[in-house]
């Protein structure tokens, strides 16, 4: 157990091990996204009420889910950083941030373009939509913390401040999740749940599951890919960087 902990504290170990993981997740992301999206957009049957327009679901549901999961991940990584001070955690949080922010944007835009033909409006200030917009602002705030604070207050303090912002902001996640049940919203409640059978046929939800798995793999792939480079940047003058990337640092 402690040895495992110790490993995660080692930047060199992470840098070397994550190269293979990121590649594996990259291939899985390609596989599942292609499967889910081609199946969903080309082969899945049309909906009897929404016609072909419901196909936006294959991008809307995964992106909205991953926007929230990514935020929770950033908050948990922040908590781990505050309690155990594992060096790699704030870097992983920074690395996954752009993906999370992209997911909120996609969820909001795909929601708008699904809402226009179905509800008759691009935007409405209802609980689900407003709390999701708030999630986008939280991502922007975190982004500012991670990219602007280090210059003025030092990297470690900045990472701690960002962790606190992330943890406090995570209160918004259950609000998004339960908004469709607590308030009367235009947004429908969830059609797929862990505990119940989905409210649609297998020919519609199987491609959706493939797309969701693809989004998860894409998150891990992009997180590891960025984290390795951010780690390199943070530790550019440590001995291990010269050891593993002699070509990059060798010249200086």
């Amino acid at each position: 157990m402690w040895q495992w902990f110790h490993k995660w504290g080692s930047a060199k170990w992470f840098y070397q091990a994550s190269a293979a993981w990121s590649r594996v997740f990259g291939y899985f992301a390609l596989l599942f996204l292609t499967l889910g999206l081609v199946w969903g957009f080309v082969f899945a049957p049309a909906d009897y009420q929404m016609n072909h327009n419901y196909r936006i679901m294959y991008l809307h549901v995964p992106s909205a889910m991953l926007a929230q999961i990514t935020y929770l991940l950033i908050a948990i990584l922040g908590l781990v950083n505050l309690v155990w001070k594992i060096k790699i955690t704030p870097i992983l949080a920074r690395a996954v941030l752009p993906f999370g922010a992209s997911c909120v944007l996609l969820a909001l835009l795909s929601g708008a373009f699904w809402g226009r033909p179905t509800w008759g409006t691009y935007w409405i200030w209802d609980a689900r939509l407003t709390s999701t917009l708030f999630l986008f602002f939280l991502y922007m705030g975190l982004w500012a913390c991670y990219s602007l604070l280090p210059a003025s207050m030092g990297r470690n303090s900045a990472y701690k401040a960002a962790a606190i912002v992330a943890i406090v902001g995570s209160v918004n996640i259950p609000i998004i999740k339960f908004s469709v049940e607590w308030w009367n919203t235009l947004h429908q409640p969830a059609s797929i749940r862990l505990t119940q059978r989905p409210a649609m046929p297998a020919s519609m939800y199987l491609p959706l599951f493939a797309s969701i798995i693809g989004f998860y793999c894409l998150m891990v792939y992009l997180m590891l890919k960025r984290a390795r480079l951010l780690l390199l940047e943070d530790e550019l003058h440590k001995a291990w960087v010269k050891e593993v990337e002699p070509k990059l640092v060798g010249g200086s």
Partner: protein, 58 residues
């Protein structure tokens, strides 16, 4: 198959504008996410170069 022809596929039952805008936006964000790590590499290289120049001047 829910579509009989390619034209039907593009029109998405009259909802083509909404469906394809979302797909296009997804593709745009995906490309941006895939390309942006190279910005970090470029930043690192620029920093190393700057430091090298400083050292040579000394």
């Amino acid at each position: 198959m829910p579509f009989d022809s390619l034209a039907e596929f593009w029109s998405m039952g009259g909802h083509g504008f909404y469906v394809w805008t979302v797909v296009l936006f997804f593709a745009l964000l995906l490309v941006l996410n895939l390309v942006s790590p190279s910005f970090i590499t470029r930043r690192i290289k620029a920093r190393l170069k700057r430091q090298q120049q400083l050292q040579q001047r000394r």
